[in-house]
Symmetry: C2
Subunit: 208 residues, 2 copies
């Protein structure tokens, strides 16, 4: 059994969406040995920073919130596809060769995984690919960009997927992950009532 960490490191210098300063996490010291007998820290972060799981509220005013996604739907087999040759965006034609099945978890490895700087032209999932995945009825999709789409007015990729309650994980790191089958665990913080949760994400190889 081999465990692969596919999570983004969280710190003040990490890449964030469009380099917006308000998306940078901050850690402060709550107490230390100068004023207490223990050392404790506080964390402040936007829940869409780093590796995270979206909830439908992110896109829809009456959308479901993060606690509506049961943990057991985030744990199980997943396939990693190598799409690192794709420029711009992933299309339906890029996905067709993989014979994607209903209720599958898929993980999209793109050139996004090979840089820790935010790329304004990050590779994303184009509308036609999202509609194809929605039609199949996959369970969820993870991608190594901080967004699953960009430059599509009205967010049709997010909305096509969310309308079918297909889960979206953004910001995984896949540089060292080979294409293939794994046992996946997406472990978001157990928050409630909101639009996303930061997560630790891992793959287990040689698990069968």
């Amino acid at each position: 059994m081999k465990v692969y960490d596919i999570s983004m490191l969280i710190n003040a210098d990490m890449q964030v969406y469009k380099n917006k300063p308000e998306k940078k996490p901050a850690v402060t010291t709550a107490c230390d040995f100068s004023n207490a007998t223990v050392h404790e820290s506080n964390l402040f972060m936007n829940v869409h920073t780093g590796t995270h799981l979206d909830a439908n509220l992110h896109m829809f005013p009456d959308g479901s919130t993060i606690e509506s996604i049961p943990l057991e739907r985030l744990v199980g087999p997943a396939r990693v596809f190598d799409l690192s040759h794709v420029e711009d965006g992933i299309t339906k034609a890029d996905l067709l060769p993989f014979n994607i099945q209903n209720d599958e978890w898929i993980i999209l490895k793109t050139k996004n995984s090979f840089s820790e700087e935010f790329d304004f032209d990050f590779v994303y999932v184009k509308q036609d690919a999202a509609e194809y995945l929605a039609e199949i009825g996959i369970r969820g999709v993870a991608i190594d960009g901080l967004g699953i789409e960009r430059a599509q007015p009205g967010y049709p990729t997010h909305k096509s997927l969310m309308n079918k309650d297909i889960y979206i994980v953004e910001g995984v790191r896949l540089k060292d992950i080979e294409a293939g089958s794994y046992f996946m665990v997406i472990a978001p913080l157990k928050l409630e009532g909101i639009d996303a949760a930061p997560a630790r994400a891992l793959l287990i190889g040689d698990w069968k």
Copy 2:
């Protein structure tokens, strides 16, 4: 395969250590549909709130920090022990019957799991039990209290364990978990340089 969520729900009303208000998490809205095209939230929390993994810096000024704990050490077999009969604190005598082995992960189910109010007399691991676990050289211990000790000047339980680099997870929820063997995943946020990280924790049953 059955997935059991053993994490504490994170919200403004959750139990926190000694009911200290500064330990309560806060969620704020970063933007919503009144001023943006998406809904996003911010999270502020003490990293020792809810289910979390301690790092040695919590107790030692020169202690190692959270990123020093490799994810693969937090994933694997674990045993849950039913100690719900124990009052006050868990002693070496309480643990002897379980024949605990070197490099094991153990999970201590106590009466702490049966209340969502903070109990100032929560069940903890007494110094003699911690020294016994340190002598065995277990890999890690999880408990359903928000602390693994209380009322022990100088924190000998934390320090006995940390001196052997035995990992400590506090604040798991075990009410519905039967004693026995599981596949465990402790998934802390991928923070660095600090004294702990909030985590999602889960057990998988029927995994062999």
